[in-house]
Symmetry: C2
Subunit: 289 residues, 2 copies
């Protein structure tokens, strides 16, 4: 595995690969790799000639009071995992080279960024859209892979790619879960043993909400059920959101008639604070006709 730390060298490498007619697949990550990341990388390897993985804890997507400093970093363990998967290139740039003095350009996807996580993490998605644009321009991939655990992120990146006519295909992959259903996340490391047990309430809430939708409950009832289920768990310090959403516009549907969505998909999505960790999860459910 080649490790590249400099932007210019990565661009030169990608230019050369493209000249040779190689198809480049790309998995951008913030490191602290878990099975969710690895599933993206495996799919990427299957579909491309060259697989590039980036590890970059991107400061512009963290708020001033968030966990940028303590976000888990484990380059050695990550490198070992990437090597054993047969990744071709690890791109590992520095913050100083990604955001040099005088840096001032940002990409913003309006509308979609003002729902769900965007309400609680102002400028988070601006940071995401900006760094993904930069990484695409540096790595020049044919295909890029994103996990659906970050549903809103994947939706925003697809919209950005479409709007800005970026010449890259976005491929989204299913959420990978622990045996007890907890969605894999680098932030699960923040949890104590008892918090970790509590965290399963997120997936249980999604399942209960799905069942409720399937037996015909209306959206308002489902939202109430979700909030109640989450609240029953003492380690849940805050429910940032928990409801039924339009999977394209991310509009909260709890005041809307479920008849308008017959035969369509809706999104169940949750963000909660458990102990020191902000955890998110979601599930798409198709309503019967």
């Amino acid at each position: 595995m080649k490790v590249i730390e400099h932007i210019g060298q990565m661009q030169e490498t990608s230019r050369a690969l493209r000249r040779e007619g190689k198809e480049i697949g790309f998995v951008p990550t913030m490191g602290a790799l878990h099975e969710g990341h690895l599933s993206l990388i495996r799919r990427c390897k299957e579909e491309n000639d060259t697989t590039v993985v980036s590890i970059f804890v991107n400061p512009t997507q963290f708020g001033p009071t968030e966990d940028y400093e303590r976000y888990p970093r484990d380059l050695e363990g990550d490198s070992e995992k990437l090597r054993s998967l047969g990744v071709d290139i690890l791109f590992f740039p520095s913050v100083e080279e990604m955001y040099p003095e005088g840096y001032s350009t940002y990409v913003e996807v309006e509308g979609l960024s003002n729902h769900l996580c965007g309400l609680f993490r102002p400028s988070h998605f601006r940071g995401v859209a900006t760094v993904v644009t930069k990484l695409f321009n540096i790595v020049m991939p044919h295909r890029a892979y994103f996990g659906l655990k970050d549903y809103q992120q994947a939706l925003i990146i697809k919209r950005m790619v479409r709007d800005l006519n970026m010449d890259v295909q976005i491929i989204t992959c299913p959420t990978v879960r622990e045996v007890d259903g907890l969605a894999m996340s680098s932030r699960n490391q923040y949890l104590s043993e008892s918090e970790r047990r509590s965290a399963t309430v997120i997936y249980r809430t999604l399942l209960r909400a799905k069942e409720a939708l399937e037996r015909g409950e209306d959206f308002g009832t489902v939202k109430t059920l979700m909030v109640e289920t989450l609240s029953s768990e003492p380690h849940v310090k805050e429910i940032q959101y928990a409801s039924v959403y339009d999977p394209e516009s991310l509009e909260d549907l709890s005041q809307r008639q479920r008849e308008d969505y017959s035969g369509s998909e809706v999104l169940l999505a949750i963000a909660v604070i458990i102990g020191p960790a902000r955890l998110i999860d979601n599930m798409l459910v198709r309503l019967r006709d």
Copy 2:
């Protein structure tokens, strides 16, 4: 000359050119081509294998009260000029395809966009940065050419390309002038005969300011001289700005000591309203040590 109207076809063409190892040069325009544009195109032809010119009057860079509707459009005359110069591809997309329903992604270069024209045309440079990003992603050029008459635009695009790591070289070219010194602009067409004569005051003001700087006048005095010279012309309805600026930060230097800029370049820049036209011009002047 091949005329391409659709984004997908342009991208397919550029991909094929790149696979063949051809270097693509690109001149983005809003049409109503004059000698300024043609000088960019000639330089582009000299330095690249394939020359692509776009004509797109970009709605997102016009304010609601500005001249988007009446901006001059002359596809037939423009095509004739492009053909006679030996341009390879004219890219002529529709507004509907560039900004489809639900369009919501914008690129913003902070700081630089809040000076000079940015003060009088809020969101103008956001529109410029966004459409240039889109056009670069569609045309995939190795080099792109911009005129220095729009100095602030060229500076913002260079900053954007650097910040977002776009793999394109930005080449800026000198302002082309009429015999009497008026900078060529598609908007000069808006002027009546007497307004057209008045408009030469812009270039005369730049020359007088340059002489004043060269004889050692301080920045405040030069600004006053510029405003007085412009005001003396009855057709000048409004002076939006006229002063000495830092050519990198665009800061107004009229309150600053000229000793701090000994041996450096400063920017003289003007925006005025004459009759129905908003006209801009500028000049770089190197101060003696």
